[in-house]
Amino acid sequence: MWQIESNRFEYQRFKNRAFLVKFFLVFVFFVLYLRLFQLQIINKRYFKKISKNNCIQILFQQAPRGAILDRNGVVLADSRSAFSLLFSPFNLSDDDITKSVNKISDILDRDKEYFIRKISFQKRYPFTYARLMENIERKKMFQFAEEKPNIPGITIQTETVRYYLRKNFASHILGYIGEINADELRDRGGECKQGNVVGKIGIEKIYDSELRGIEGGKQIEVNAVGRELRVLREIKPVKGHTLILTIDKKLQELSEDALGDSPGVIIILDPRNSEVLSLVSKPDFDSNIFTVPLASKKWNHFFTSLAYPLLNRAIQAQYAPGSVFKILVTLAALEEEKINLNDTFFCKGFLTCGREERVFRCWKREGHGKQNLIQAMANSCDIYFYNMGLSLGVRNISKYAKEFGLGEKTGIDLPSEKRGLVPSSEWKRKKIGDPWFDGDTLNLSIGQGYLLATPLQIANMVCAVVNGGKLYRPYIVKKIIGDKNHLIKEIKPYKIRDIKISESTLNILKKSLKSTVEKGTGRAAYLKNLSIGGKTGTAENPHGENHAWFVCFTPVEDPQIVICVFLEHGGSGGSDAAPVARKVLEGYAQFLNEHKGNEYILKTGKEKNGL
């Protein structure tokens, strides 16, 4: 009884409502008892029978992963059937399990500990099966089938396994798959579970949800010794979606051959929408290795090798772009009207700068003499660009660099992309603690110093320059296709921003880049029947030999492809990178001939789009 407030009416209302709650309580418990009575007394016999004779187990079946095709429908990766070895510890004595493990490890030639670990995990969930080994060889499978009566608990299941049609082909794009680890399990709880296979890098990782399909399985009634009596329910696994890439298999092959075994990158983009036509990073790896069981020794090689074969150098490594960056500096100077087509500087091989009269050299010690803009670009004369950079100032250069996507992720649909670095005076004061010197500006204007970019950023920057200022987001997956060729999603080009470039600037740039290939440092990439514009770059770096860069596009008048060649510690742009680009260009010219001068990319892209 409420003592302080003696409002009868309120207390009465409270009491009434509390009474209703009590009524609800009685009702609820009545229902609960009723249900208990139904289960335990009325249906007792039915449930007793089930529990006495039979037990229900669950056998999961992994779904086949979706196929990955190139832009013309050529299969790059798919699933094929294979055999998996499963084990159910249900109702087995410890002796039986030990016996089985011994047999299994004999046949598969592998340490017992591995199987013991897997089985002891499964003991907590005896109604499902431990997945001992996937993708076992045919010969071993027959061996198991013969010995099955002597190895209690095993089941052989036909499943599918991922395979990549060619070794070491587009491996950084495709990526590889493997068993889910603890971190991934936490991030994707609900969608995946222990023992599932997920994409680890590349588009296998980014599009894992699309590719993985829907796991199926069976509810199996087993008797007391674990023998299968009948299948109660079955859910068929559903194959994952098919991905169609922007990659052109022929161009990809061409680039892989052109690069050979030297560490580096070749990227081919379509400048009209930044579709990635080919992306090669060497050294690479064979994605198939990771689906073969027991190959962990081989895997270790990939994870520990100092050549970092798993590193996708196109997006995960950052380098100084060197003279390739001069394209952007020239564009900035023309747009800001700091320079005219006919302005000349005299190159005597060096230039002094600052109070301490520090000497900054041109790459050509004896000097280029009098140079105008076109000549300076063709000869990559550093002195000319030092002057240009000084009149622009660091603020302008970094403004333009950022406009063209340097210093930010391009947003390509591949994992772990690096963002690069565009320095500014604020950045230097904050991170290094020193003020910005004119000498820093000089270094920046020839693409050295603090500036860092990924090869993809450079390729995409060139795209945005040659297409007249449209910066697109590069992408690799073009279409996602579901069951019965049903189009689920088509990824359209995404324009990040428009950058204003005047017609005359663009013309001057293209002209100077064309003359670079015709008579300048990029001569090695010259082909008679193609109109090519390009720029070499040789980036000094503290880790060793110079990095060699070469970017080019063709045809100059209406660019259809942009090629970016990068050789890690590969020497000089003109004599090392440009010849590699020439091989790609030669092949490309041949494709054009085969298509009788029609536009190669557009035509092939449309041929089999119906799929």
Binding site: I4, F29, L36, Q40, K44, F47, S51, R186
Partner: protein, 443 residues
Amino acid sequence: MAFKNIARKFDYVLFFSMVMVIVLGILFIFSAIHRGKIVSPIWTKQLIAVGLGFGLMIIAMGVNYQIFRQYGYSLYFFSLILLLLVLFFGKTVRGAQSWFSFGNFSFQPSEFSKIPFIFALAIYLEKNHRQMYRFKSLFIPFLIVFLPILLILGQPDFGSAMVLVPIWMVMLFIGGTKYLYLLSFLLYGVITFGIPLLITYLSFHQDILINSVVLKFISMATSHWLQGIIFILVILVILSVIFYLLIDLKFAINFNNFMITSFLVIGGCVSSCLVQNFLLKGYQKKRLLAFLDPQIDPLGSGYHIIQSKIAIGSGGFLGKGFLNGTQTQLGFLPEQHTDFIVSVVAEEWGFLGAGLVFFLFFIIIWRGLKIAVEARDKFGSFLAAGISCMFLFYAIINIGMVMGIMPITGLPLPLFSYGGSALVSAMVAIGLLLNIHSRRYTY
């Protein structure tokens, strides 16, 4: 207060019911986890939690509960801060980031946030008891329940978040809110969760869907937020047309009621769109529905339900005997020591054992409501009523789930399931009930 005094006014029935539940719980947790002769370390952990629980219960019983009137809101905010921190520094267990872990010791703040939540609501209801019939008095109580729900959903722990709603509603009901508001809110909840679940259910029974135009339309409308917005706009237009028609025809219509109805329909649609697209993932919807038809998720939750029913049903009237339950001992049910512990009792001790456990819970809740009615002031009444409701809804949801008549939400049975945090907080709650009871005559 002298010890004698307390002893005289002590609610022995409630206390001994609790002790019996705990003892039975420890016995059957042992049965659920023991494999072979080794005593599992998690069983000893549970024993330690019981000891800790008794300590805290004595404190909760000893202090005058009036101090919670002073510190209730502070405790509530403290619990919110803990819930916020766990989202950043918590450990993830089974997909939910809900644990604070310090070496060997770890606890779940969501379990401890329930009592401060009841404090806060009880304080508010006491102060505003006379105004509770007003609509605007619902605003603060709404915030009180909304914040913890939001934070617990962030972990995400759907079950622990949603169980606060019925507790909240019954406390408001006892506190004197109008029936109309509560019914509207109930309707709102039914629309919000009903539509997405209906759609999921129908997607497994396509034949019904194909034949019905209305259902097809609703399922289209909720499948994407953009279509949802169009759908809501259509309803908005229809409602306003009806409203103006009614005014034109001189029908007397209460503007308030009209607003409430429109809000219900439109708000319900908005939130059902949100639930469909963002809050509930496909597998969660399947889990919630599997009790209606285990076929929906035969390899996951549907399997659990079937196994749980087999375990319970095969127990019969007397059960198979302690440690002799075949289903239990062969480990066919995962999580049997936590969420599905009732199935162990039902299998091994049969209808008598499970019936005893139900009866003990009934007694605990019944005594709790009795204490609420007899309390010396409003605060004590609302606090006791809230605690009783907490036990009531946990019992309904958990026991219903185990017997296949409630969705699988992963809620434990308080005092009975394995889990230290839940046990300690439930014992503190019982301590508070005993506290309110023992002080019912003091002036």
